[in-house]
Symmetry: C2
Subunit: 683 residues, 2 copies
């Protein structure tokens, strides 16, 4: 690394920028470069994606181990193009060699739809005579078509239209006034849009018609609240400041914080990608995870009436968690001292485009890290925690997903997702029976039951790539009450089941055994506990996929059938619902089920493996979620167990520490905190 | 309330303090008063507890409804005394009438052991010849007995000794140096202490002896870390300040914050008690909960070898979550602007004694409350959340429990418990087989498997006391894939099961259906959703009680057999493992099982009911938990569902809000947050 560092310094002196880290996302100029290479041969195509083709893991591991004596992995662009006639092309462009190294016309698949793709539909719908006719039937005159809006979704899959033509379904809404929330005015019909010809090719019209909602607007923006009496004025500021700056260092896109080091990547589908995560254990940089990302998600809705079965968005694979990412704002999305990173993408025309402040990196106080008081003499040690948060927020039409990757001082990595935004809604008649498939959250507004199921891709690197996954269940000990071995019946233990093959790796969640999964390095035994070095997956919001086996969602979202799947590492297995998700039929199921079916007996024990974890929640809406939903958090923890010799956070200075002898008292009490007796009339 | 207020003002003018709120804990002078009344008749007794006997609920409801025209409930002290011969007396002292209104000698029960009771044991053990002998056998010479320590626990229950004599078991440890953590030096024998005669009456000695551990100390206090190289110096301050003070008001012990109002009580067993919790819904103060507390807990250990079955502490009922409460410290335990409340207790001799700063009340920023961006035009509303936290921390010998009652802007009440402190440990030989009942967390140190099971007592008052509990399960809809009613198999719904009788109210957790429980007022139907006003219990850390049916822990900790029990309201049913927990045999099971068995067919539907919720975690120790454990949080949520007409936090001013029209933009961006590019060499 010394030579590498000298090279960088030299480039700095000469005014050259250093080469990007091999896992850095493509820069704007690299995107331009890739586009120009493609353009030479295919001038007529549009661009769906130009993103980093990550170097093969073997190549990267070698480079990471010894950058000075290893060939630097090439910069390669992964390109998706679309052409007339719903044609799709997958290609790879080697930016160093300036050439296309792979080019393939893809048959029967559709790449994700971009924000640009989405934006076309509303204009077309407003002008389409059949849509105007449908609006008229439910009480919207033709001259009000500018008040008609739509959230265009991929069609998901509709057997009537198949996969050959690129389609969107338009979820229809109305706004009495431009600033009114349209989700209080859902319309009952659903046009189908051909993204190739820019035509409405079909409209799904329900058998029972539902006239446009006459309820007053239900808004949350500032002007609406001001009009209803305004905001409360009794909230005093809570100021968070970091006068000496932050405690992390940034080298390119590698963040060092306390004992952690992590490379922060970003791509259009997964959003944040964390790579080469290590923990400095008293001077030894120990690998922990090779790569972490939110790889896919699906949001199945629970109303069986046609065409609501099509509402099961794969927000990452069908739209892109990166593409939909918000440009963040200081003091709004995050407080304190913030380091932002931008995200560069390609647009349809092939120009680079950048989301400013796409990723937020900051620290937060996190309450008590540990505390103990000796009851004999009140000697006490209390140490405060903080956390490093690497986050982005994406807007998937109505919903917002706030994704927080959190690093803790105690060696824990946490993925927290907050759901906010607005419920997807559908029209209902007064006193219409929801049949339990939804809730009337506002007069005339039916919010359907749904699940939010996320798939976290975990590439463990627990002291190296050879890892083994165990299912761990809390179990009662053998021996009945009264027996010699378990006289009082109090025996219990952690039952570990070693997962041996990909085909046998599927596990469901079991709350009754507090089920967790260990990612262990069996070659690295903790000298104290004699147990393998492990990170434990602790996840408690793990509903099963509720859509039934053999049905549409079950077929398309194979990754969501089980809480855990494990596969042998494969460079090309990143997207558990497949590389191109829109309009997959699920026959056969793409992604994870296909990979496992291809070689079910593949060994996953003491191998380089990937653990795919599906978690989430089942959401039965209520009026409290409307017109905008208070953020609901969900958490997955990756906790070190038998990995360290002791609590790895003992090097964090306490706020206060005293010992029984009275010697060596340490005090770093915060001088800012204040005692108060607010508005006290009687204390 | 006007008259009441005038009275208070008059007293203020005249220099008299106003009368306490009927639910305020007894003050020091009230404790003195109660003691003096008891002393007149029973001068020879010692005091175990003098605490508020809460007014009967019917009386309180009447007073709360109309304080001006209702007789103020009397101040009554609930007294527990102990005398020679392990005698126990329960009494009530009416402080207004200055007399004992109830006095009873209790047979075969033992009240909790106080901190004072605990402190005696170590001194006795160090002088006891048999203990000195046992120490000698494992390598501690008689002259080192000052290095021998013990954590005295109640004996729990041991059939050899029964319930008639007040006993403690001494968990034995050694400290090479006064400041060394004793939990690295557990001793293998266990003396039994008679708290009446102050004698060691028995010593449990294992069949295999384990000499004193020779491993070096494993410490966490400041001097030890300094000696090992010191604390890291790269953490920059994260300052939290509230220059304009806090947003809550304090009137006696009633806290008003945003739309919430709550009375903060405290007693020696439960610690914090929250009463008469209301939410101001656009001018209407709607009752939500009548009383919330952590009512009991049990920590069963999973090693079946004698005498470890006795390790199953009921930390509240056997020691008192209030009695063990820490005196909190500014900037250490909580940051920002803090309002503390003290806690007054009686000591053994009958004098009042106060824990300063027992309860912490403060606000914290809580990230994003809600956010939505319109993808068409990037118009956005983003509003930040904050929370009000009412907390205390108690030290139960080795463990610390940090209890946070959290009120959210969106109407949610959260109970968060953080576990920290030190593992309970036992001696082990080098290479001794733990048989899976524990983990060697440090050489020679066996930390046994255990559960932390908490019982939350929820007295709902959802728009009034007549409430109904439903078990709610996420279920697949009827109809197979391909059927007319469920063609694509995607139907799912919330199945609600109405709990009708106390005897039929026991529910276990089911992670597979994301099971929750609704506390509903069936007489108050949400006009939009047509569903009853509800608070939903959402709890995901709900392991079953692992000790087996019919065994010691199962018998004594009846409350922990199920995730939920529901009982008709009864003023005398506060402690789900019984009023006096130490040395209960569990035959019959005290508390919840007894109450339900007394009238299993008692109706609980549309009645004043109490929901008892047991939650917690199963802890398989690892070296990372030692020598002090990083705080592990657990959360229970009480969420409004169909209670409000809309998101009740729309009155919170956003950080930023813009509308599609561009009109009415609102900006209150935090001017303190700063952009940084820390130590950046390449960005
Ligand atoms: Co939802
Ligand atoms: Co524990």
């Amino acid at each position: 690394m010394v030579l590498e560092r000298l090279k960088q310094m030299a480039m700095h002196v000469t005014g050259n920028t250093p080469p990007p880290h091999p896992l850095d996302p493509l820069s704007e100029s690299e995107i331009e470069h890739a586009v120009s290479v493609v353009r030479k041969e295919y001038p007529e195509l549009f661009f769906n994606a130009v993103t980093l083709w990550e170097p093969r893991k073997a190549e990267m591991l070698a480079w990471v181990a010894d950058a000075d004596h290893t060939v630097r992995p090439h910069r390669v662009a992964d390109v998706v193009c679309v052409g007339k006639g719903s044609t799709v092309y997958d290609g790879l462009v080697d930016l160093g060699e300036e050439k296309i190294v792979k080019w393939e016309k893809m048959e029967g698949v559709q790449p994700l739809i971009t924000m640009e793709d989405l934006q076309f539909v509303e204009t077309i719908v407003r002008k389409d005579p059949k849509c105007i006719e449908q609006c008229g039937l439910i009480g919207i005159p033709a001259e009000d078509m500018h008040k008609v809006y739509c959230d265009p979704w991929t069609i998901g899959y509709d057997e009537r239209f198949g996969s050959g033509v690129r389609l969107q379904q338009a979820l229809m809404y109305y706004r009495p006034h431009e600033d009114d929330s349209q989700y209080s005015y859902p319309l009952d019909f659903c046009p189908i849009f051909n993204a190739d010809t820019h035509e409405i090719i079909h409209i799904d019209v329900p058998s029972i018609r539902r006239p446009i909602n006459k309820a007053p607007p239900n808004n949350y923006h500032a002007a609406a609240i001001e009009a209803e009496g305004g905001f409360r004025t009794d909230l005093k500021p809570i100021n968070i400041s970091q006068p000496e700056g932050v405690s992390f260092k940034v080298d390119g896109r590698t963040i060092s914080w306390v004992n952690w080091k992590v490379h922060v990547g970003f791509n259009y589908k997964e959003g944040i990608v964390l790579s080469n995560i290590t923990f400095n254990d008293k001077g030894t940089e120990r690998p922990v995870f090779w790569r972490l990302s939110l790889a896919e998600m699906v949001v199945p809705y629970g109303n069986p009436d046609h065409p609501h079965q099509r509402k099961h968005a794969f927000d990452l694979g069908e739209y892109g968690g990166g593409y939909m990412t918000n440009s963040l704002s200081l003091g709004c999305d995050c407080k304190g001292a913030i380091h932002y990173m931008d995200a560069a993408f390609v647009n349809r025309a092939g120009s680079p485009t950048t989301i400013k402040n796409a990723i937020c990196i900051h620290e937060e106080d996190n309450g008590i890290l540990f505390k103990h008081t000796d009851f004999r003499d009140d000697s006490v040690t209390v140490t405060r925690a903080r956390k490093l948060i690497i986050s982005h927020i994406f807007t998937a039409a109505n919903y917002e997903y706030c994704v927080y990757w959190i690093f803790h001082l105690d060696g824990t990595v946490q993925l927290e997702i907050k759901l906010t935004g607005i419920l997807n809604t559908y029209a209902m008649l007064p006193n219409e029976d929801t049949h339990g498939w939804g809730t009337e959250v506002y007069p005339g507004v039916n919010a359907h039951n749904h699940q939010h199921l996320f798939c976290m891709r975990i590439d463990p690197n627990i002291d190296g790539p050879s890892n083994t996954i165990y299912q761990v269940d809390a179990m009662q000990g053998a021996g009945e009450v009264g027996s010699a071995e378990n006289k009082h019946g109090n025996a219990f233990y952690a039952k570990k089941t070693r997962l041996e093959t990909a085909g046998g790796s599927m596990c469901d969640y079991d709350g009754n055994t507090s089920r967790t999964w260990d990612m262990s390095n069996e070659n690295k035994i903790n000298p104290y506990s004699k147990k393998p070095a492990t990170y434990k997956l602790v996840s408690r919001e793990v509903p099963p996929l509720l859509p039934k086996e053999g049905g549409l969602v079950w077929k398309r979202a194979g990754f969501a059938r089980h809480a855990v799947h494990v596969t042998p590492y494969d460079d090309d297995q990143i997207h558990p619902a497949g590389r191109h998700v829109p309009q997959t039929s699920g026959e056969p199921s793409a992604g994870l089920p296909a990979w496992i079916a291809a070689n079910p007996s593949a060994s996953i024990a003491n191998k380089d493996v990937v653990l795919w974890h599906t978690f989430g929640l089942t959401h039965f809406p209520a009026p409290e979620d409307f017109p905008i939903m208070p953020a609901e958090p969900m958490t997955v923890l990756l906790r070190p167990r038998n990995f360290f010799l002791k609590n790895p956070a003992l090097d964090i200075a306490p706020s206060y520490s005293s010992a029984p002898s009275g010697k060596g008292t340490y005090s770093a009490k915060d001088g800012l905190s204040k005692l108060i007796t607010p508005g006290c009339s009687n204390c």
